[in-house]
Structures are given as structure tokens and as C-alpha cells.
Symmetry: C2
Subunit: 240 residues, 2 copies
């Protein structure tokens, strides 16, 4: 280590991969923001890009707090579990030509490197109203099967997040409010299938989750359905 070396400016940001479970369509969507036309010119003159919600960290907040704040500013949701999953810091990760305009307007030093700590959140899509037209940007949900080209290295960040939930769906279901407080086993199975990308056998799925022992069977059934009504279940409170 050199003594009191001079040191170039680094920006530090957090980016949030917010995955919303769409129970109706049984698919995961990702929350994206549309970068605004930085020069306030008409939209056609500027190639507006989609991006993951993210922002520079503030002075006195932890990384986790920064991620919570950014998520809250963009979705108005609070108390959601956010998991740090990787840090992206390649010197060139924000220096593609496509990103130059945005940086020029939004950064004091547009050429400075930005290191970003990426976070993953999972939510029920019908619990969130993306703040379209809010102070910052338009937000939209996009199916993870049809991801557009994103700003910076955000496609890479999203890809890593999707790998993680695909590998361990079970770790990202409990305590994440991805289902209503009361749900059927079919709803739970659909969620597993959407997260893993696999199709599961009904009988074996039910056997395995009953072994896992995190469900509470309720004395309540579906009503008004055109078939045998399913029993409702809820999650046991996690100990953490």
C-alpha cells in the first residue's frame, strides 16, 4: 500500500433487480425504468433506454439501506427483503456509447467509473403500482422472457439474478409475500414452476412440501369455483 496515494473518484451505486410474480399469467416480470430524455427534447431525438432501478449511495446509509431507499423511491414498497448478490465494477461498464448521453446529464463526472452493488427483490406484482410518470422515470414490468436491451451492463446483472433464483427457488419463496396470505397448493406449485422454469408433478410436489414443514393448513376452502374447491394454506412465520 502506498502512502496517502492520490485516488481517482469512484462512484458507488446500488441496482435493484425487482422481480414481480404475476400469478394470473404465471410468470416473473422485472421492474424496469425508462430513462428520461435527458435534454428534454422530443423523445425521437434521443434513444431512451430501459434500465434497472438504481442510484448512487448516500453518505450515511449502508448498502442495504441504499437498496431499500432506491426500491422505495421507485415502487413505494417498504419492508421487502433485499438480498445483495454481486458487485459489478468493470472499468468500462458504463462507458458504452449508448450510455454517454445519460451520464453527461446526470453525472458531474460522466467519465468516472461506477461500481454497483446489485440487489435482488421478489414481490407480488399486484402489490406494486409502478410510479408511472413520477418525479424520476417511468417504470414498467417486462416479462423475463422478453428483456429488451438495457442501459449499462444491466442485462448482465439481470442475467445473474435470474440464475440465482432458478437454482434455488425455495430460498426465495418463504417470507417474500409472493402469494396472498391464503393460497392453495396449486398456486404455490405454479410459483415454483415459474421460478425454476421446470414443470413438476402434482403428487410429488405436495409430498415434498409437506416434508418441508413450512405450511399451515387452514380450515377454509375456495368458494364459487367451477371445480372441487382447494384448501387454503398459509406460511409459517419464519424465525428470522
Amino acid at each position: 500500500m502506498k502512502n496517502k496515494q492520490s485516488y481517482l473518484q469512484n462512484y458507488v451505486s446500488v441496482d435493484c433487480v425487482v422481480l414481480g410474480y404475476d400469478e394470473v399469467e404465471n410468470r416473473l416480470q422485472v421492474l424496469l425504468i425508462k430513462q428520461k430524455d435527458p435534454d428534454k427534447q422530443n423523445v425521437d431525438s434521443y434513444k431512451s433506454q430501459y434500465a434497472l432501478p438504481g442510484d448512487l449511495i448516500n453518505e450515511n446509509e449502508s448498502l442495504d439501506e441504499a437498496a431499500s431507499r432506491v426500491l422505495n423511491e421507485l415502487t413505494h414498497i417498504k419492508g421487502i427483503y433485499l438480498q445483495q448478490f454481486y458487485t459489478f465494477g468493470h472499468p468500462d461498464r458504463v462507458s458504452a456509447p449508448k450510455d454517454a448521453d445519460w451520464l453527461r446529464v446526470h453525472r458531474k463526472d460522466p467519465n468516472a467509473r461506477v461500481i454497483t452493488i446489485a440487489y435482488l427483490a421478489l414481490v407480488r406484482i399486484d402489490h406494486i403500482t409502478p410510479l408511472a410518470g413520477s418525479f424520476a422515470e417511468n417504470t414498467i414490468w417486462r416479462s423475463i422472457k422478453k428483456i429488451p436491451k438495457l442501459a449499462f451492463d444491466h442485462n448482465q446483472i439481470l442475467g445473474k439474478a435470474l440464475e440465482i433464483i432458478k437454482e434455488h427457488p425455495e430460498q426465495h419463496i418463504m417470507g417474500r409475500e409472493l402469494l396472498p396470505p391464503k393460497f392453495t397448493l396449486s398456486q404455490l406449485q405454479n410459483l415454483y414452476e415459474a421460478m425454476s422454469g421446470l414443470q413438476l408433478d402434482k403428487r410429488n410436489f405436495r409430498k415434498s412440501i409437506k416434508t418441508a414443514d413450512y405450511l399451515i393448513p387452514l380450515d377454509e376452502k375456495q368458494k364459487g369455483v367451477l371445480h372441487k374447491p382447494a384448501q387454503y394454506f398459509s406460511f409459517k412465520k419464519s424465525k428470522k
Copy 2:
């Protein structure tokens, strides 16, 4: 996002948890550096601390490259697999009184926040000669069972690294050169046991690794041992 907001200086560093496998003692040790007396006074006047090897990132290197460089500068080893495992960025992580002296000497802005990306490396301890008395610091191996109080939040960083290898020993053995090119199954089992902290049954261990299919049995036996000589094995080349 605010427009061209002013932004406080953040330092960004990498810290390396280098775990060395000591086959003779069958234990893992961690590579620590001893911070030098910053004021060049006699050692007694300064509470010298142990720390994980780490350094600020340079301008044009990726995070992975920074970790490799730091590791190389401290151990002269190259080509070792380094895995990013977590980023630590609490605003107060370097502001304990114990760390003030060192920061005052080594940082232009001793009060600035430091975000550090932590990396994990595993090596054979007899392959590494820590560079005692080199330009920067003394380096020592310490058993992971007897970790002293470290600088900054390095105990926390080390703790997280140890959790990771404890949970998935198998992922950190292949391709890491933790054993000689030819090794016996007992050597391999000892390594597993050191990493997991568990004791394993010989027959069951052999059954499971033969299922795993990453070993090549060699036509060679131990020589000159006071017991039935063991067969040597080597790892299949990993495909990555």
C-alpha cells in the same frame, strides 16, 4: 436521481480471504498481514493490528484483476482462482478508534468511507511463501480456529468466507490445487473434513465421491509406507 448532484468521495477496495490448507496438520489457515507501525516509532508505542490483505482498486483494473493483483503482491502467487463473495460497505466499517492511526497515515482522507469487495481464495499452504518483511507488511498464517482481533471489519469478512466454504466444501476443492497432483482418497477426505468441520465415514465418503465422477484412478501406489499402500488419484480437468 438528482441532476449532477455533488457526491462525496468513496474509496473502493478489495480484501482477500486467502485460506491455506495445511495438509500436515489437516487444518485451514488464513493469510494475515501485520500492519506496520505507521509513524515508524518503536513497535510498543503503536498497537499493530492484523488484517486481511487488501488494497484500494486501481483506475483501470476490474475488481477481479484488483483482487489478483493484491494477492500477487502479498504472496507472489498467480493464476489462483479468486471468487467474489460479498461487498461490505457500512458507513462505519473503518471508523473504529482502533483503526484511526493506520487510516491517518495511509489515506488522504482518513474519514472517508471505504467500500470493499471481498474475495475468497484457497491454496496449498506449502505452495506459498508469505513475503515476510517485504515492502509492505509482514504476512503470517493463522489457524482459522485461533483468529486474533483484526483491523476494520475483517473478522466479519473472514467469518462470512468461512461460512461459505463450510456449506459447500465440494465447490471449493476441484481445480484449486489444494492437494498434490497425485493424492490418496484419505488425503481428499481429510481436506473435506477440514473444510466442513465434520467427520466423515470412510466407506460412505468413498462411495459418494465415486458417484461424483471427477476422479481419475492412477496405476500408482504409495511406496515405503508402514501399512497397505494407498492408490493415487488425480482430478479430472474441469471443463470451465
